[in-house]
């Protein structure tokens, strides 16, 4: 043992500090470092994809604009959508689950630390592969051969005959690679949450964040592998001349749509459930009340997961399904609204009569509640097949899903970042900058996406690179583009806050929010081994029991 230490010392001593830190990141299997790497890489991709969106809004700000060519525009919306879903949403939720699940259940690491590192690097190189397409032939000057088939890559756009070169191959291969990473991390989260719970942490004492992580991971298992299957079929079509989606040989373009949305619809729940998870931890702490209706919250999310596996074809009402199909998928879509409504009412029930503290995490949660409600309502509207026939593929749909993914998902994630940043870094994010960030983002978000509903009503199709004057779309598009400025300003403040608070933030201490779950029982940032002695738990709010020995929760549970 001593001999090994002596052998190691001179070798590490010769390397510069930066190289050592980089080496540490590359070889680490610590769930906290990997979690932060996931979130960090996700935020970098978030800024990149946000810039792509800004260029699109610049192009659409006025009719007959010529900021970018139609070809470049096609690449922009494809890369924006693909990046936001697979390289922003997926890694950020994976990162938060990785960081928090072991801490919340009182464990020292994930069940499979090396598999965890594998999952991260698969995602990371998948992302690099996607963006490498910009540099690959025919080079930067021709805007590269970035994918241009839309984020759901409908057949036959992806057929060899219509997509020459390798742009579609970059799309499909990078999603296949990062999909394997997502599945690896999902298996890991489930195994951790089931098998590594500390003594006394029964399933019904788990923090809701952990419960929702299990459900999301289970959905990843069921949804990501159909996507991989479809990607394999597409690769076989493109490289070996298979006929899956070749309509000339009797293949079906609609089958691709089914396979894609069997993945695609559960995917939006895979993203939103971790945002629910953040809310379910933050709202109780900032309302000074335990979560209202814990078992119902668990049941509701399991119901959401179950129903969401049977709603995919509501993305396909206009392909001409038989009316039985339309009715089935419309009904199942309405059904999702029931457990989702239960969750909203339970969050409101938690806040009702509580002592609310309007810190940045709570502000983002409240923003989430309002915006997610509207997103849900437009979702129910689109779930009605005849209504969808009118507005399918219009800007109304764009507005609807940005309400869910920006107005809800992103707000939930920001709430989570403001809440757990002090745990990960040991310093609080600046409160004033946080409030500025919140309001700028709220204003920018509504300026950008509210008018798009109306542009959609007036018939503006999604994915067009420009439009004529006199259709009545001008003012909505202009307001929409102006909103981007406020959003970008908000995001800039957020980035400044993240960086500045890392060095200059107010020291957080172990438990800055006076919270009740186990991650706040260790130091901030936690040591590599998380807990000196593994905790023993008697109720679902172990820190409450610790702080209030005269009135512990376990007396009532």
């Amino acid at each position: 043992m001593a001999a090994r230490e002596i052998a190691l010392t001179p070798r590490t001593g010769t390397l510069p500090a930066a190289a050592l830190r980089l080496h540490d990141l590359v070889v680490t299997t610590d769930h906290k470092k990997l979690g932060l790497m996931y979130v960090g890489a996700g935020l970098v991709f978030f800024v990149v994809a946000g810039l792509l969106a800004s260029v699109m809004r610049l192009q659409l700000a006025a009719p007959n604009n010529e900021v970018v060519s139609p070809q470049v525009f096609n690449r922009l919306f494809t890369m924006h959508g693909t990046t936001m879903v697979f390289l922003v949403g997926m890694p950020i939720i994976a990162g938060m689950m990785n960081y928090l699940v072991p801490l919340m259940i009182g464990a020292r690491d994930m069940a499979f630390p090396r598999l965890n590192a594998f999952g991260f690097w698969m995602f990371f190189f998948g992302g690099l592969l996607l963006y490498f397409s910009y540099l690959a032939a025919p080079g930067i000057t021709g805007a590269g051969s970035a994918p241009n088939v839309g984020w759901f890559a409908y057949s036959p756009l992806t057929a060899r005959a219509f997509s020459r070169g390798h742009s579609t191959d970059y799309w499909t291969l990078s999603l296949l690679v990062s999909g394997v990473g997502s599945i690896a991390s999902a298996i890991n989260v489930i195994a951790t949450a089931v098998s590594l719970r500390c003594k006394g942490m029964t399933m019904m004492r788990l923090p809701l964040f952990v419960w929702l992580s299990i459900v999301t991971s289970f959905m990843i298992l069921l949804a990501l592998s159909p996507l991989s299957a479809a990607q394999i079929m597409l690769l076989l079509d493109r490289f070996l001349g298979a006929r899956f989606f070749d309509t000339q040989a009797g293949g079906s373009a609609v089958l691709w749509q089914h396979f894609f949305w069997i993945f695609g619809h559960p995917e939006v729940y895979i993203l939103i459930i971790p945002a629910f998870a953040c809310l379910s931890e933050i709202i109780p702490v900032f309302s000074r009340k335990p979560i209202f209706g814990y078992p119902i919250m668990v049941a509701a999310v399991v119901m959401i997961a179950f129903i969401s596996l049977g709603v995919w074809a509501h993305h396909m009402f206009t392909i001409g399904m038989p009316s039985v199909g339309n009715i089935f998928f419309a009904t199942s879509t309405f059904l999702v609204a029931v457990p989702t409504g239960i969750k909203i009412f339970n969050w409101l029930g938690t806040m009702y009569g509580g002592k609310l503290r309007f810190e940045p995490p709570m502000l983002f949660c409240i923003g989430f509640l309002f915006q997610f409600l509207i997103a849900g309502l437009t979702g129910v509207m689109l779930g009605m097949a005849p209504f969808d026939w009118q507005l399918h593929d219009s800007y109304f749909v764009v507005a609807h899903f940005h309400y869910t993914l920006v107005g809800a998902f992103l707000f939930g994630i920001f709430a989570g970042i403001y809440y757990w940043y002090p745990k990960a870094v040991g310093r609080l994010l600046d409160r004033r900058l946080g409030i500025w960030h919140f309001w700028l983002l709220v204003i920018g978000f509504h300026l950008t996406f509210d008018p798009q509903h109306f542009a959609g009503f007036l018939g503006m199709p999604r994915r067009i690179y420009t439009y004529e004057e006199g259709r009545g779309w001008e003012v909505y598009n202009l307001i929409s583009s102006v909103g981007v400025v406020a959003q970008a300003a908000g995001i800039m403040l957020f980035v400044v806050n993240l960086v500045r608070s890392y060095w200059k933030g107010e020291p957080a201490g172990e438990d800055p929010w006076d919270a009740w779950t186990l991650e706040w029982a260790t130091t901030s940032p936690p040591p590599e081994y998380n807990f000196e002695t593994l905790p023993v738990v008697r109720s679902s709010r172990p820190l409450w029991d610790l702080k209030h020995p005269e009135d512990p929760d376990w007396k009532y549970e």
């Binding site: 069940a111 499979f112 599945i183 999902a186 298996i187 890991n188 489930i190 195994a191 951790t192 089931v194 098998s195 590594l196 719970r197 003594k199 006394g200 289970f218 298992l221 069921l222 949804a223 990501l224 592998s225 159909p226 991989s228 299957a229 479809a230 394999i232 079929m233 076989l236 070996l240 001349g241 298979a242 006929r243 899956f244 040989a249 009797g250 293949g251 079906s252 089958l255 396979f259 069997i262 023993v536 008697r538 020995p549 005269e550 512990p552 376990w554 007396k555």
Partner: protein
């Protein structure tokens, strides 16, 4: 805490037992693999009889009786191997485990023979028609899982012969056998879809 509270505190479970992480992970892996196969099976069923030109399934497919017997009986031999391992009967374990590998390898070889016959005889390739596309991708996906299973089995055998497999590794052997049973069960589905319904 007062003494009364301490007395009222719920009794902790004497022992805190949780499922093993390996078991949970392998079950999850099987769930996700099932979803993967389901998509290929659905594609196969959807495209039955939709090929615009030959060769058709009814003309060229022959039921792979021997291959099926080999693969299904390998599920039996691996159970026998596990039992022998549990009884510390290392000779029996070696025999049945190697037998499992042999049966799997015979299955794979027979698949290769079948493919060779289909490609060189009636010129059925993956690009020939929808039948060729769905046939080679579904059977090939299953065969690739057989290869993964055989690799795991062989690795375990080599480690055993090197004396690296100790009694406490029984659970890992059990998990390999679960994966192998899954591969066998998938074959039952593939067989039914391709050689029974598909013809």
């Amino acid at each position: 805490m007062t003494k009364a509270d301490a007395l009222n505190s719920p009794v902790e479970p004497a022992e805190w037992r949780l499922p093993s992480r390996g078991v949970v992970a392998v079950v999850c892996l099987i769930v996700t693999e099932t979803a993967l196969f389901m998509i290929f099976v659905v594609a196969y069923l959807f495209y039955i009889g939709k090929s615009l030109s030959g060769p058709y399934a009814s003309e060229v497919l022959e039921t792979p009786v021997i291959a099926t017997i080999c693969l299904l009986s390998s599920s039996l031999t691996i159970i026998l191997a596990e039992r022998a391992f549990g009884r510390a009967n290392s000779g029996g374990f070696r025999l049945w485990w190697a037998g499992t590998i042999l049966l799997g390898a015979v299955f794979l070889a027979l698949t290769a023979v079948e493919w060779r016959r289909l490609i060189t005889g009636p010129r059925l390739t993956i690009s020939a028609n929808l039948f060729g596309t769905t046939f080679y991708s579904l059977v090939g996906l299953h065969a690739s899982h057989v290869i993964v299973g055989l690799t795991l089995l062989t690795l375990a055998l080599i480690l055993f012969l090197l004396g690296r497999v100790r009694p406490e590794h029984g659970e890992r052997l059990k998990l390999i056998s679960w994966y192998w049973h899954f591969v066998d069960a998938v074959w039952v589905v593939v067989f039914t879809v391709v050689y029974v319904i598909g013809r």
